[in-house]
Symmetry: C2
Subunit: 165 residues, 2 copies
Amino acid sequence: MAREIGTFDAFAETMECMQGDGILLVAGYPPNPMTIGWGSLGVVWSRPVFQVLVRPTRYTFGLMEEGQAFTVNIFSEKFNKELSICGTHSGKDLDKAAACGFTMVKGEQTTAFYIRESKIHYECRIIHKHLLDPATLDPAIIERYYPLRDFHMVYYGEIAGVYRN
Amino acid sequence: MAREIGTFDAFAETMECMQGDGILLVAGYPPNPMTIGWGSLGVVWSRPVFQVLVRPTRYTFGLMEEGQAFTVNIFSEKFNKELSICGTHSGKDLDKAAACGFTMVKGEQTTAFYIRESKIHYECRIIHKHLLDPATLDPAIIERYYPLRDFHMVYYGEIAGVYRN
């Protein structure tokens, strides 16, 4: 059972997992998990917000654009094999949720699905997005992360609920 | 003395103060404090980032554009009087730091100044900014926060240091 917790209660765990590739963003139907290593949490427009980045070249991009919702799923280390599958394959070629043996569950608050095997999940509705503009981005960042100029779309997800599973 | 702490150690305190109008953004020289109620913390481009929002109509906007650095200063409730001065005056008309009796100190890591009387401060260098685009923003947010269409600039500050003062 998913038990609701405070919006920011899992921040420390979330940042820790983020630095260890332990986070899956899920969007679309059939729901597709994608590994993310970057993200922010805070308050914008007086709403709790989780910001995530997706390159327009990714399979997940179309799912985000279509569904306007996503979940962020935090994993413990014992799922390293599954996280590795999600980090090295595209949903274009593989049903990653099935390959990982994940149980995909319809969100409590959003249309996006979450992964029952995650320890914590955030449910988010997209309220804003912006494509990174190289004109206002540190040149060292462009050189390091965007040699192909495939700049990320930044999605602002209003956090509708946070759950410990 | 400012004692350095972990980048995300003060997240809970920061979010709590954010919801209670206890945060001052400082930029420019002479350094000018502005009350902020919104912001996010996380990891983007593998760097710790504090995102803040400033309307281009604000005095602080020019200071951010010029200095490319800022500090975020977290206050305890006993500074309510000072926070109220900062929240109701513009640096155009008043030296708010002097009016509050604040001690402005040059940052340890950045050119921006911080306020010695704050309990915690973040020092940030601007690595990206983007002006909110109404075309990709929830219409309910536009109606509620932007009747004058004075959309915020979102500044991404790379966190160079976090200190308990």
